[in-house]
């Protein structure tokens, strides 16, 4: 990782962050998968109303763990759905994994049945599973929440707390990655409303945005959820005080962050806030 003090035409520092796969020396959490493991999907997942399917290949890793990791990584935000925090049931079949979305009551019923593999961010469900003596294995930190702000001097990330979200979360020490090329800055920054916006349906993003509102001294600022299309449009024009954006942290390097920059060409900084992870709940062996 290297420091860069160069300025773009209008924006300041762009702080880029990548998860464990970043080769630039990011702190690697102990739960991160080992390099020798192989776990990858072999195609795009198919989704229905409450079920989904994907095929995958695995090596050096248990099939159920790999399926759980891929379900958490590939099927969001679909996995969250209208319920929060989210829980899905993963069933291993010959060519891949079938995933079913569960609400809180059905998830507990599935646990009580004793043979289900669940992937969840529900801390209460995790505690319940531990009380039942089931196998609870944390999955890698696979989701990173960023604050996209128009000014490089924002210190929002300094005050965020993992307690602000109900999912299993941790604070992030932000690396500063200098992009190999200057980010696109030709976009027009519209008049910013006094809102911190997030994508509707992403409960963790909402909690992060509300925490940002809660700790700011500005009583006029508020959190607001936008539909995915509206959120993307607002992010492109910068029509807010800040945006809470989640990205997959697994396998995303500094080089890959250049694909995010064009989504917010006006942004001066991408401030990492927290990382979250899901847990696999499996039957007793």
């Amino acid at each position: 990782m290297r420091q860069s003090g160069g300025r773009a035409q209008r924006v300041g520092w762009v702080v880029l962050y990548a998860l464990s796969a970043c080769s630039s020396g990011l702190r690697v959490p102990p739960e991160s998968p080992v390099v020798t493991e192989t776990c990858a999907s072999t195609g795009a997942p198919s989704r229905a109303a409450d079920s989904a399917f994907f095929a995958f290949t695995v090596g050096g890793l248990a099939r159920d763990v790999c399926a759980a990791r891929l379900a958490a990584a590939l099927l969001r935000p679909w996995a969250a759905g209208p319920a929060a925090p989210w829980t899905v049931q993963v069933a291993i079949i010959d060519s891949g994994a079938a995933v079913h979305r569960l609400d809180a009551a059905r998830a507990r019923d599935a646990l009580d049945a004793g043979r289900a593999h669940l992937v969840t961010e529900d801390a209460d469900l995790i505690a319940y599973a531990r009380q039942r003596g089931l196998v609870v294995e944390p999955l890698p930190w696979d989701r990173l929440y960023l604050a996209v702000v128009p000014r490089s001097g924002d210190t929002l990330g300094a005050v965020i707390s993992p307690d602000a979200v109900r999912a299993d979360a941790r604070s992030v020490v932000a690396p500063r990655c200098a992009p190999d090329s200057q980010p696109e800055t030709s976009g027009t920054v519209v008049t910013q409303s006094r809102r911190i916006v997030y994508e509707t349906g992403d409960v963790t993003a909402r909690e992060v945005a509300e925490r940002l509102v809660g700790v700011t001294g500005d009583t006029a600022i508020a959190a607001a959820g936008l539909a995915p299309t509206e959120f993307a449009a607002a992010l492109r024009t910068g029509a807010a005080s800040a945006f809470v954006v989640s990205v997959a942290s697994s396998g995303l390097g500094c080089q890959a962050l250049t694909t995010i920059v064009p989504l917010a060409p006006w942004a001066a900084a991408f401030i990492p806030l927290i990382e979250t992870r899901a847990h696999l709940i499996a039957p007793r062996p």
Binding site: E207, A209, E210, A222
Partner: protein, 558 residues
């Protein structure tokens, strides 16, 4: 001014004006009483609002006390908030949300002894935020209705708040709870639309004059500013009162309009009922003259208009009678002229007779043996002249007027006439004479002629039928009815027969009915003829009785 205009004006003055005055009086009195009752009701409602507000604050305080008791005995909260156990950190953060939902509150915060938010129910992620002095400011307003501005993630709202402090593990925690004060809260306080309740910042003196009552409140903000005086302004909307007044006005106006409409219809009907027959009378009066006096009005009404119509009809009948008399006088004058002409003709008819007699006298003196021969030669002349004169005498003798008036027994004359008719025509004539007929003042010869003419006409019209003559008295008149079962007459034949010189008989004079009509008219009576072809003829003669003469003893049926 027309009758319709007069009646309309009379109706307006007699009915609408008093009705309008009554409506105005009723409206004013009802409004006064309803308004007084409404004001008493509003006063009661304002007192209820005051009690509701106090009850709401007391309810919040009571729930807050229960929550504080529960909090002080919550071990997980104690571990997380007092002991700093990270495993119970999230339990502490979510405690207020669960408690707020269970207690039915709109906001709940737990402050530590440094006035930092430990747990917030309405805005979870404001934990750690400091509100320096806020719990103390709220506590200082204890006993008053206190409002607080509450920040949330998406905005802010106002809550009716209460505060309660408790000790957990030797540390002081302050619970602040409240319910939302918004439009629905004001609507609920305002008894669902009867009162307008609004929150007004500042002193009540600045409230508009329509505000009936103000309830003092204290507004405490999140910042360090001191509590601010505010109040609830209560304004009676009066919608129910306005509705009641509107209904009353509509009913009064509706009743007035209905009365006016009914009155207008009645005026139109009465005016039409009066003016239409009067207009008919006026048109009839315009159409009457001596050449066309036959105007009859059908007056079936029993009121004054009917009486007027009947009198008008009576007048036209008298006029018709007078016109008939006039025409009869004219006809008699004409007959007199004809009589003179006949006199001349008679004299002319006598001339050949005189000449024949002179010739015969001369023959007797000069050649008596030729007298028979000459007489034979001239006899035809004598016979024709005598026949001619006899014919003239027969015709015109019937028109000779008689003027000898005295009380006459109509029954006796009727018997004689019936007997003569039976003898003359060998025809059955039935006679029915009512006993006790009063005498008629008149000419017995004329009366006999009347009956002879009518019986002759009746007998001549028969084709094997019968003639009936009936006498009776009614309302100071003697009625003689002669009915036959003969051929009858058409209306045109009847009119011509009454006019005179019209006959259907080979040797008739055509004067019978006209003579009868004149003679009856001379006696002050009337003739009514009911006839139709092939249905016979009924002639009714009515003669006024002679009132000063005692009634004759009755005779019987014959």
């Amino acid at each position: 001014m027309t009758i319709r205009a007069r009646m309309s004006l009379a109706f307006a003055l007699a009915a609408l004006l008093p009705l309008g005055v009554l409506a105005h009086g009723v409206r004013r009195e009802v409004n006064r009483r309803v308004t007084a009752q409404y004001e008493r009701r509003v006063s009661a409602l304002i007192e209820i609002v005051r009690q509701d507000l106090a009850r709401e604050s007391a309810t919040i305080a009571a729930r807050l006390e229960i929550l504080a008791t529960d909090l002080s005995s919550d071990d997980r909260f104690r571990l997380g908030a007092v002991r700093g156990d990270a495993a119970h950190r999230r339990y502490v953060l979510d405690w207020a949300a669960r408690a707020m939902d269970i207690a039915g509150l709109s906001m709940l915060r737990i402050y530590d002894d440094e006035d930092r938010v430990v747990s917030s129910g309405h805005f979870r992620n404001e934990f750690g935020r400091a509100d320096p002095g806020l719990p103390a400011r709220l506590a200082s307003t204890s006993g008053s209705n206190t409002l607080i501005r509450v920040k949330t993630a998406s905005g802010s709202f106002t809550a009716l708040a209460s505060v309660h402090a408790t000790q957990v593990g030797g540390r002081r925690f302050t619970l602040v709870a409240g319910t939302t004060v918004d439009e629905s809260f004001f609507t609920r306080l305002g008894r669902d639309g009867e009162l307008d309740v609004s929150l007004v910042l500042g002193e009540p003196a600045a409230a508009p004059s329509t505000v009936l009552e103000t309830l003092p409140l204290i507004l405490v903000g999140d910042s360090a500013t001191p509590p601010q005086q505010t109040h609830l302004a209560i304004t009676p909307l009066g919608s129910e009162l306005r509705s009641l007044r509107g209904d009353l006005d509509r009913w009064i106006a509706g009743s007035f309009l209905v009365a006016a409409l009914i009155g207008a219809v009645l005026v139109m009907w009465l005016a039409t009922a009066l003016s239409r027959p009067l207009a008919t009378l006026a048109r009839a009066a315009l159409s009457i003259d001596f050449t066309t006096p036959d105007v009859d009005l059908v007056a079936e009404r029993d009121d004054e208009v009917g009486t007027l119509a009947r009198r008008f009809s009576a007048t036209t009948r008298r006029l018709r009678t007078s016109a008939a008399r006039l025409r009869d006088a004219e006809r008699r004058a004409t007959v007199g002229e004809l009589a003179r002409q006949v006199n001349h003709d008679v004299k002319n008819g006598l001339v050949p007779i005189r000449n024949v007699l002179r010739h015969l006298s001369h023959v007797q003196q000069t050649s008596p043996h030729d007298l028979a021969t000459v007489f034979g030669e001239r006899r035809a002349t004598l016979d024709s002249s005598v026949a001619y004169l006899d014919e003239l005498a027969t015709r015109w003798a019937r028109l000779a007027p008689r003027a000898e008036r005295k009380p006459v027994d109509v029954a006796a004359i009727a018997r004689d006439a019936a007997m003569a008719a039976r003898d003359a025509y060998a025809t059955p004539v039935q006679l029915e004479v009512r006993t006790g007929l009063p005498p008629v003042f008149g000419d017995p010869i004329a009366l006999r002629r009347i009956l002879d003419n009518l019986l002759t006409n009746a007998v001549h019209s028969l084709d094997g039928g019968v003639v009936t003559m009936t006498t009776a008295s009614h309302d100071d008149v003697v009625r003689i009815v002669i009915a036959d079962t003969g051929r009858g007459m058409t209306p045109d034949q009847l009119a011509r027969a009454l006019a005179g010189f019209y006959t259907t008989k080979p040797h008739g004079t055509g004067l019978g009915l006209s003579v009868v009509r004149r003679l009856v008219s001379d006696h002050g009576g009337s003739v009514h003829i009911d006839t139709a072809p092939d249905r016979g003829t009924t002639v009714t003669v009515e003669l006024p009785v002679h009132l000063t003469i005692p009634r004759f003893a009755g005779s019987g049926r014959s």
